[in-house]
Symmetry: C2
DNA sequence: GCAGCTTGGATTGTATACAATTATACGAGG
DNA sequence: CCTCGTATAATTGTATACAATCCAAGCTGC
């Protein structure tokens, strides 16, 4: 979503609003609250032991995060995400992750490069062991490292937003098949291109990595899950 | 309608929060509130004749819009925008406007195409007359038409965000030189490529259009205005 | 029986009161 | 004169009270 620059991920862990925000976000992404479900201020407030005020503010934040849709004087609803939205996001991400990889080729620090290598190594290990949760976690982390390495707050934030936005869908598809190994292999190639300072190659590989990820999702039934339901 | 989009244009014109939000946004973009200036809840509330509650909620929205930075227990500050931020945004926009033009080649409606042609025609007229305000307005509108024509809510919204975000800077540069005419000529070429269903050409032209716009900004002293001040 | 109005409950929108936190000014001690 | 601690004022964070709005159930009149 673009356009925010420095959203401080300070997420304000210790204010009530911040805690409510994080809790709701997690619950939405994990699927506890289904799409189009209505969230009521008092109910959430009572459940978390706070008043309506921090809940309301958390709602407003979640709306701009794209997880809630607030209808004035009516209510807050968990947003739906259509198959076309997912497709468009991957199309956009393909371009931007490519740009990100290109920039990272110049800007990546030694520490980031080391963490990236470690990430890939670890992912292979967990892949052998079949640790699905860790695989998903490492996959997310790989991309976060890449985003940070491009040294552009704007690009980093944009990509993190999109990345987060499709998490709801991705969780259900990555762990269910053999995409994990192929994905990690692509990560390795991107990493090696960056290490070799081959920006063109890094960009192309990152482009293709997104396309492959999307194709895999489609192959594994994205259409069925997120059919053509239209959002209100 | 924007229910599944990442951010919602539900600008809620008739709620107090919505009005406060729009007012503050406008004032920040127009430069009434300078960068790093502190906005106090009570002061804003009194100025607009409302209580702190809607002001606070508007602040939270503006933070996610990237116009405010809220420091917990301390205050809300107008965000700075660095020269690097602007550069990064144009880099990203170059890619995405290209994608947008490519998609629009397939998806544009007859009405949108007609408005686009009219836009370019009008812009030439105002260029001859030296109507700077209208030129800026038409320039904005051209891009909005393009965004709408790509038939992707996700891409449209992302681009609108970025577009809006650099308005603070662009206002000061477009009207001060001869970029207007060149810009409009580039619009015409993009439009003609779309009309000819030449997606590749439309994409490339849109890419270059952004690069040219950025180069022009740099040439006209962006660096001096938005030096290397670091955002906190 | 049904259309349309009325009314009541539920929910959000806003205002205000109170608590917690931060920053600053001032004075005591060195 | 400087430093540190305390007190106080200013500001934000949270809770609660009240107003406005929406929705649906039920009543009325035909």
């Amino acid at each position: 979503m673009a356009g925010y620059d420095i959203k401080h991920d300070v997420n304000d862990k210790y204010s009530l609003r911040g805690r409510v925000f994080q809790k709701l976000r997690e619950d939405i992404l994990s699927g506890k609250y289904k799409e189009h479900e209505e969230l009521k201020e008092v109910a959430i407030g009572e459940e978390l032991g706070v008043s309506r005020t921090p809940v309301r503010e958390a709602f407003r934040q979640l709306e701009l995060e794209g997880l809630l849709q607030i209808v004035p004087n009516k209510g807050a609803y968990v947003t739906g995400i259509t198959a076309k939205d997912v497709k468009d996001i991957y199309m956009i991400r393909s371009l931007l992750e490519g740009l990100c990889a290109r920039l990272a080729t110049e800007k990546i620090t030694k520490e980031q490069m080391e963490e990236m290598e470690e990430n890939i190594y670890l992912a292979e290990f967990h892949e052998d062991k079949g640790h699905l949760d860790q695989i998903a976690e490492l996959d997310n982390r790989f991309h976060d490292i890449l985003y940070e390495a491009c040294d552009s707050k704007m690009l980093e934030h944009t990509l993190k937003d999109f990345h987060q936005y499709v998490l709801r869908v991705r969780q259900r598809t990555l762990a269910t098949n053999t995409r994990g190994r192929a994905s990690n292999e692509e990560h390795r190639q991107i990493m090696e291109a960056i290490k070799a300072k081959d920006a063109d190659r890094a960009e192309k590989l990152a482009n293709q990595h997104m396309i492959n990820a999307y194709d895999n999702m489609v192959k594994n039934g994205l259409k069925e899950i997120y059919g053509d339901e239209s959002t209100s």
